[in-house]
């Protein structure tokens, strides 16, 4: 199914130039250095907003694997976010007096969420389109309701407070600045992994399923495995984002994981440009920053937010960032290839 002759496809690298790569690496390094130097100098509020943007980029990248790449609409993605967050909250707080290290729980939280993703994926493999969307919606609500009802484990609606301060390499992470330094590498890694996957044979398989599932099966793609991988990988990203969110807030309660949150993540990837990693970063920035900018309008804020939402969608139904401005374009522009 891959085209071996494909010098024309954007996925296969053309002739590589060492100097070009060097230049690209240098530009990226300078950009990162500017970010690392510049952002912490901002007032803490801005850093906190950027932290939220980065968490939502992680979530967007994860959800995009299922929705953007494989074309399966998931309206219950928040469930995986919740599983990650509650994993950290339960295993690193006074709730059961268990205090496991942050780095271990990043793995455990991501793993549990990934497992949940695969478990959800198995029964819904047969479903298509909006029926899939509704079953995932139901799954998201079931997870949230369990968090609300299983008081002995999750403390119910009271939430789990006084979660441990996370430590990494012997350093305590307690300010939004620390979390910025934690989140940035995660986001860079997530974007890189997602991009490599998009270009891999698995990514092409997902694209085939998205365009025509029957034809994809016809040319020998194991749609079951490909779909389960999409669900599992996507959920893992959500779980990791959840662990970091719980560590940043040091408090979790079921209110933070409502259906509305799932919709926000869908909005991020659609407003940015479905399936486009550059778009996700822009989408997350727009959807987190716009409501913050509207704060001055106090109770009129949500009305203006709704209007902005409808206008953006009407003016740019395919997302703010066009498909051709994808990471491949970015790399070309930087001179990587």
């Amino acid at each position: 199914m891959t085209s071996e002759t494909g010098a024309t496809t954007p996925f296969l690298p053309a002739a590589k130039s060492r100097a070009g790569r060097l230049r690209a690496v240098a530009i990226v390094a300078i950009a990162l250095a500017l970010l690392l130097y510049g952002v912490p100098g901002l007032p803490t509020y801005y850093v906190r907003v950027i932290d939220m943007v980065l968490i939502y980029v992680l979530l967007g990248v994860g959800l995009n694997m299922v929705v953007g790449y494989a074309g399966l609409l998931d309206l219950g993605y928040v469930a995986f976010y919740a599983i990650g967050a509650y994993t950290y909250a339960i295993l690193a707080s006074g709730q059961f007096d268990i205090h496991l290290p942050f780095s271990l729980l990043l793995v455990v939280g991501g793993g549990l969420a990934g497992l949940a993703g695969v478990l959800l994926g198995i029964p819904v493999l047969r479903l298509r389109g909006d029926y899939l969307a509704i079953v995932t919606l139901g799954f998201g609500e079931i997870v949230r309701l369990f968090m609300n009802n299983l008081g002995w484990m999750t403390n119910g609606p009271q939430g789990i407070s006084r979660i441990d301060e996370p430590h990494l390499f012997g350093m305590g992470l307690n300010s939004p600045r620390d979390f910025f330094f934690l989140l940035l590498p995660f986001v860079v890694a997530a974007l890189t992994i997602a991009w490599r996957l998009e270009c891999s044979i698995l990514g092409l398989g997902w694209a085939a399923i998205r365009e025509d599932q029957d034809a994809a099966r016809g040319i020998g793609i194991d749609t079951t495995v490909a779909k389960l991988l999409a669900f599992g990988l996507s959920a893992t990203f959500g779980g990791v984002a959840g662990v970091i969110f719980a560590a940043l807030q040091r408090f979790v309660d079921p209110v933070s994981f409502s259906f509305w949150e799932s919709l926000t993540i869908v909005l991020i990837i659609v407003i940015g440009g479905l399936g486009n990693l550059v778009g996700i970063v822009v989408g997350a920035a727009v959807l987190i920053v716009v409501p913050e900018l509207l704060r001055e309008y106090s109770e009129y804020r949500m009305l203006l937010y709704g209007c902005a939402l409808v206008l953006i969608i009407l003016l740019r139904p395919r997302g703010l960032i066009e498909r051709r401005y994808n990471p491949a374009w970015l790399m070309r522009t930087l001179g990587w290839r």
Partner: protein, 373 residues
């Protein structure tokens, strides 16, 4: 053209954000203003506005006018912490009244604590003060008082033996319901059932039909409006006669209009202030509120007024040097004959002598039931 419109939209939003800077002495507040709890958040903040307008009319603090910055946290912990950071970073903000929901106050108090912001909260969950932050104050009774007093009243004054408890599975509703249950059982009463419903529910007939088979002496509902009103209405319509108890969100004329005068009659509601006509101060408050906002005070308006007054008094005592530190210091020394009684804080920032009053619905209003003066 499309691109132009899009750019204008985005630029408009960006410009909108670069709006006015705050005045010199500013008090911030964050509460739910655009979700289902908007009524509570809005009328709560109206109460604060009233206190600040009065202080300004009387010459302000040190001749400086006070400003209230009202923000919307949508009852969402994530937005609560973002707002906390925003207030912390803004040097003109010297104190905050935040937040309304316990689930928002707990994480936001971490942020406020780090910048030494004097924080006065309206969240009644006992866990809010568990961290022992020295900059956090709660001039209202916590859930122990709110859930406990009605249980004692039911046992001792009404001589009730059995109670059915329903709550809305929210931090506040479950919190008070749990305290009611524990107090009632400790006092020798029997709890026939303890069930949760969904906060957004409007149809309680299934649960009530179940309660009917238990026929308890009292029914306690832990939750907020409009759920309480609807629950009470359906309780009576399905023919259950037990005495009905609810917590302070129900201290609204809307309880009676929602449930209907006949259905609401005899319902007992707890509230932390004496009746509005009990003393001239409260009477003036409710009149001023009606004049300023053209509506009846909400259940938390008096609390909001009280919370803002506590801060204003502390500012006045701080004298020439009004800073976050001096306000925190002065808040510890609060001795205010407030709207709802004497306000003094213990070393955890809790109200020293919390008060609670039980009201009974009679006709179209609430009549003081306990303590009888």
């Amino acid at each position: 053209m499309k691109r132009f419109l899009l750019m204008t939209t985005l630029a408009g939003v960006a410009l909108a954000g670069a709006a006015p800077a705050f005045a010199d002495m500013t008090i911030g507040t964050a509460g739910p203003l655009s979700n289902a709890e908007a009524l509570f958040g809005n009328t709560w903040q109206n109460g604060m506005q009233l206190a600040i307008d009065e202080a300004n009319a009387a010459g302000g603090v040190n001749g400086q006018k006070l400003v209230l910055v009202r923000q919307d946290d949508q009852g969402d912990p994530k937005q609560g912490t973002l707002l906390a950071q925003k207030f912390c970073d803004d040097d003109s903000i010297v104190a905050v009244v935040a937040n309304f929901n316990s689930g928002v106050t707990i994480p936001s108090s971490d942020v406020y604590n780090r910048c030494g912001m004097p924080q006065v909260t309206n969240s009644s969950n006992p866990k809010v003060t568990a961290a022992g932050y020295q900059n956090l104050f709660r001039p209202i009774a916590n859930d122990f008082m709110q859930g406990g007093a009605p249980a004692d009243y039911a046992l001792q004054t009404l001589g009730a033996k059995t109670a059915a408890i329903v709550h809305d599975k929210q931090a506040f509703g479950e919190g008070v319901a749990t305290v009611f249950k524990e107090t009632f059982e400790k006092g020798g009463g029997k709890v026939t059932s303890y069930s949760g419903v969904t906060a957004t529910d409007v149809d309680f007939s299934a649960v009530i039909t179940q309660l009917k088979t238990e026929n308890p002496d009292v029914v306690y509902y832990g939750g907020t409006m409009p759920g309480v009103g609807l629950f009470l209405k359906q309780l009576r319509e399905l023919g259950l006669k037990s005495t009905f108890f609810a917590a302070d969100p129900a201290f609204l004329p809307d309880l009676i209009t929602t449930a209907g005068t006949a259905n609401a009659a005899g319902a007992v509601v707890s509230f932390q202030a004496p009746p509005y006509d009990a003393n001239p101060k409260l009477k003036k408050f409710s009149e001023d509120y009606r004049k300023a906002f053209n509506e009846e005070p909400g259940p938390y308006s008096a609390y909001g007024y009280n919370e803002a007054s506590v801060i204003i008094e502390a500012m006045k005592r701080a004298g020439a040097d009004v800073t976050r530190e001096s306000i925190v210091k002065e808040l510890h020394n609060t001795k205010l004959d407030g709207l709802m009684g004497q306000v003094e804080f213990d070393d955890k920032g809790e109200l020293k002598q919390p008060t609670l009053f039980l009201y009974k619905v009679e006709g179209d209003g609430f009549v003081l039931e306990w303590p009888k003066s």
